[in-house]
């Protein structure tokens, strides 16, 4: 009975998709996009920021540059560009411009403020494998922290399930725009991620319930068992497709569907993993089952195996300052991200926190200063990639955001000062060329519905 209902609802979803014209059934019979983005940027007049120092996200720092934006896209960045008549000019002299900040690891919306059991929806900690859950179904768009992050220049973010489970579920990539619905924030076309967790958390959560995994070897057995099932699921669907889709399709399984998406290269593995030795094991697991790990998250010990990670093409999303809360994070160092970068790898500074997400630029500054002190030569142009181009890469959206190259979405920040400095304030933030935050204009500071009528809201945060 239950299976029939599941099957029917799957078919219904597919039918609705076909009917609305937006959907296609992928070759393996899964609707591509059952919860499509409804985000459509408002039309915006073209503008030019003139005279600022621009960090393009491609490595360049251009002083006295002009940034041209039209149709929600970056049109050009350079010195002495002519500004067309119709473009509104913004004086950028003495200021800085960077791409919008992208946080590759956030729990905004799934662990919203205020923290209350009613809203703590980030960990489906009921089974070590909950690959079937999707973070977007937990996001509370009213989380006031979205606005705080916006005020700090965060224009895109990946919201992940927590790390209680070996397989926590799907992540969702959002544009940081005000919206009543989560679909209204979804980054159009961004690939899904799968949250995988190493180490202490899953074994603690399930070991304390007398269940597997209770150890790290239990963790690894849990991953492998799941990937064996996923490979089998892929084969069943492939056989059905190869057979001309004759007869009934295999029954859809939400959990295996997500894992199969990884094996097919459509869903990106986002792997919470602190220790060097565990990351090395995860690379072997990935090789055994023929998938790629897109990024290790937290990864305090990445500096110990930076060349290995660079060679494997795995990004490292980490902090400069956070260390020591657990044994697996004891070896955290400020230079972790810069060492990954120096080895030729893809280094990311992430937040995993509703306060730090407001200061990713400063966190990158701390890492940059520490690296330069240690003798690595890290320019601002390189360091800004840690919070722009590289998270975009880890999230599979680097073709659209993360740099100020022509044709990219016009997600950018006008800073009051050197963006790595503690004194830098995001004066204005654009998403797709539309102002979404202005430090001096309350029209662009609207608090979320939740905060209306609450005490202490008479000033911007």
């Amino acid at each position: 009975m239950t299976s029939t209902v599941k099957q029917l609802s799957g078919i219904c979803a597919a039918l609705i998709w076909v009917a609305t014209g937006g959907a296609a059934l992928a070759a393996h019979g899964v609707p591509d996009d059952p919860f499509p983005s409804s985000y459509r940027p408002a039309p915006a007049a073209p503008f030019a920021i003139v005279g600022a120092t621009v960090l393009t996200g491609t490595g360049a720092e251009i002083a006295g540059a002009t940034v041209l934006v039209a149709d929600g896209k970056v049109e050009a960045v350079g010195r002495a560009l002519a500004v067309p008549q119709a473009y509104r000019q913004i004086d950028g002299r003495g200021k800085w411009v960077t791409p919008g900040i992208i946080d590759a690891h956030s729990h905004l919306g799934v662990y919203p403020s205020p923290a209350t059991p009613s809203h703590e929806d980030g960990n489906e900690a009921t089974s070590p494998n909950t690959a079937e859950v999707w973070a977007e179904h937990s996001v509370w768009p009213q989380d006031p922290k979205f606005r705080l992050a916006r005020a700090s220049g965060v224009t895109s973010l990946m919201v992940l399930p927590g790390s209680a489970n070996l397989f926590g579920g799907r992540s969702v990539t959002l544009k940081n725009v005000p919206s009543v619905t989560t679909q209204g924030m979804k980054f159009p076309g961004a690939p899904y991620g799968l949250k995988v967790a190493c180490g202490e958390n899953p074994k603690r959560v399930y070991g304390s319930k007398g269940r597997s995994p209770a150890t790290r070897m239990g963790n690894v057995a849990g991953y492998r068992r799941a990937w064996i099932d996923a490979a089998d699921y892929v084969r069943r669907w492939d056989r059905w497709v190869a057979g001309g889709k004759a007869g009934d399709p295999p029954k859809r399984d939400l959990q295996l569907e997500t894992l199969a998406g990884v094996l097919r290269g459509e869903i990106l593995v986002q792997n919470h993993c602190y220790r060097a030795d565990e990351m090395a094991v995860m690379l072997d697991v990935a090789r055994e089952f023929g998938f790629k790990i897109r990024a290790f998250h937290h990864a305090n010990e990445a500096f110990k195996i930076a060349p290995l990670l660079a060679k494997a093409g795995v990004c490292v999303a980490t902090w400069a300052s956070s260390w020591g809360a657990k044994m697996e994070s004891l070896d955290g160092i400020e230079e972790n991200a810069p060492i990954v970068a120096a080895a030729g790898g893809c280094a990311i500074i992430h937040s995993d926190d509703g306060l730090l997400i407001q200061r990713l630029n400063q966190e990158a500054g701390i890492a940059m200063a520490a690296a330069n002190h240690a003798g690595l030569k890290v320019s601002r142009g390189e360091a800004i990639k840690w919070i722009t181009a590289n998270p975009a890469k880890a999230m599979g959206i680097a073709d659209q955001v993360g740099t100020l190259e022509p044709g990219k979405m016009a997600d950018l920040i006008l800073w009051s000062a050197d963006p790595f400095s503690v004194y830098a304030l995001a004066e204005r933030v654009w998403v797709d060329g539309v102002i979404q935050w202005d430090r001096t204009d309350s029209r662009y500071q609207a608090p979320s519905d939740f905060l209306l009528g609450q005490p202490g809201q008479e000033f911007a945060r």
Binding site: S113, P114, P144, K145, L148, E200, F303, K304, A306, P307, A310, S321, S322, W323, G324, A325, K326, M327, L330, D331, G332, I333, E334, E335, I339, A341, A342, A343, G344, G354, L355, Q358, R359, Q362, G365, I366, M368, A369, A370, H373, A374, G375, L376, K377, V378, E382, F420, S421, V422, Y423, A424, L425, L451, Q454, P455, G456, Q457, F459, A460, R461
Partner: protein, 426 residues
């Protein structure tokens, strides 16, 4: 006699092995004392104590000259609300002495015992320019043990030597959500319980002998807890109250006024909404300026401007770091307060002289003044900025190693990488 001997011993212990004089020359010296700043100043430290500071100070013969030209010289930073000396790894219980689960030990819990000067956290914090800290008890609520007081905080010194500077600098108490929870689930019950406890402590103080003979009624707290609270009800030991909601702050102020307590407010997310009342009560506030999220219903009014608005109202503020392993970020928190309206000097005061004053330590630390202990930091540039690091750190006149376990890990792995990596080389 014994007291004099103890003082002599303490001085002998604090001083370097041999008489030593350090002269820090040529830097921009920001004293945080009445002398203000010297664009090209000299600081002289002899036998662990500052003996001279000024523009026209000549280093004594034989002094170890430290050239600080082009750099900024400040007092060592003083971190409040820390776990320094009390914890190594939070999930390893044996290394976590921040809190007690013992029944019957609440106010009596004393962070001054069990301090670990070899803690790995200390060099990390010190590389953030922190030379002194307030080791502050936390709560361990388990097995139904819900006691009102966390215990007594201690002032500590972070040079790796025995670290107790002064015990009993404050009695730690949660009010608001957490305090209400421990008192049975409502604010009203905590406020009643506290009033009853303070009345009983006064009663106990007056009739201690009778208590020991078993001639008094039963008290709510243990004997040890009541002993610990006597200095609090006498107004000698400040009550350090963590509280956020504006209404809860008013309740704390009223309690202190009514019971004659000396109060310090901690966190005070909505402090800016009652800043005038806090200022009028002469109560200082310890806060984390970057805590601006409405993380709970008691912090709905949290804002980055809290520090600047409190200071503007005349409240003495101290700025905290980010707790436990992340105290080194304290100076950035001060910088963020500046970015949000606090004056630069007020921000530096909030991590030096103000915390020293708040905890009754300003005769010894917190500024570069003759007679004070020789805690001085030389900074490459602006100490409040992410882009600046300390160049040298002195505690009790001794130069400190510029290393930590983290830098040792870095130095183990970085050289090999630089030889083999395709990336940019220095």
């Amino acid at each position: 006699m014994i007291r004099a001997l103890l003082i002599t011993l303490a001085l002998a212990f604090a001083a370097p092995a041999a008489a030593e004089t350090v002269a820090i020359t040529g830097g921009r010296v920001i004293t945080m004392g009445p002398a203000g700043e010297f664009e090209n100043g000299t600081v002289v430290i002899t036998d662990g104590r500052i003996v001279a500071v000024g523009a026209n100070v000549t280093p004594p013969d034989g002094a170890n000259i430290i050239d600080a030209a082009g750099k900024i010289v400040t007092p060592g930073l003083v971190a409040t609300g820390t776990a320094l000396g009390l914890v190594e790894v939070r999930t390893v219980e044996a290394t976590d002495d921040r809190a007690t689960g013992a029944r019957g030990i609440s106010a009596a819990f004393d962070a001054a015992y069990g301090l670990n000067p070899d803690s790995l956290l200390i060099p990390v914090a010190r590389l953030g320019g922190i030379t002194r800290a307030i080791a502050t008890p936390a709560y361990k609520d388990r097995d139904g043990r819900e006691l009102l007081f966390a215990g007594q905080a201690a002032a500590v010194v972070l040079d790796g030597r025995p670290m107790l500077m002064q015990r009993g600098v404050a009695m730690v108490l949660d009010m608001g959500d957490a305090g209400a929870e421990r008192a049975g689930g409502s604010r009203g019950s905590e406020l009643v319980a506290l009033r009853a406890i303070f009345a009983e402590v006064r009663d106990f103080k007056a009739r201690r002998a009778a208590y020991d003979r078993g001639e008094t009624r039963d008290y709510l707290l243990s004997r040890a807890d009541m002993e610990a609270l006597i200095p609090v009800v006498d107004g000698r030991m400040p009550l350090l109250v963590t509280v956020d909601r504006a209404a809860d702050i008013r309740d704390a102020l009223a309690l202190a006024r009514e019971k004659g307590l000396k109060l310090i407010l901690e966190s005070a997310s909505e402090g800016w909404r009652v800043a005038d009342e806090i200022a009028a009560a002469g109560v200082p506030v310890i806060l984390t300026p970057v805590s601006n999220s409405p993380a709970s219903f008691e912090t709905l009014g949290a804002t980055l401007a809290n520090a600047s608005r409190l200071a503007a109202a005349g409240v003495v503020i101290a700025i905290k770091g980010n707790g436990n392993h992340r105290e080194r970020e304290m100076r950035y928190n001060a910088g963020n307060a500046v970015a949000n309206g606090l004056s630069w000097n007020a921000a530096l005061a909030a991590i030096t002289i103000n915390p020293a004053r708040i905890f009754g330590l300003a005769d010894r630390i917190g500024s570069i003044e003759p007679g004070k202990e020789g805690d001085v930091v030389i900074w490459e540039s602006d100490p409040l900025d992410t882009l600046t690091r300390p160049a040298a750190i002195f505690i009790r006149g001794r130069v400190q190693p510029m290393s930590s376990r983290a830098t040792e890990l870095r130095d183990r792995y970085l050289p090999a990488l630089l030889q083999s990596a395709p990336g940019e080389k220095p």
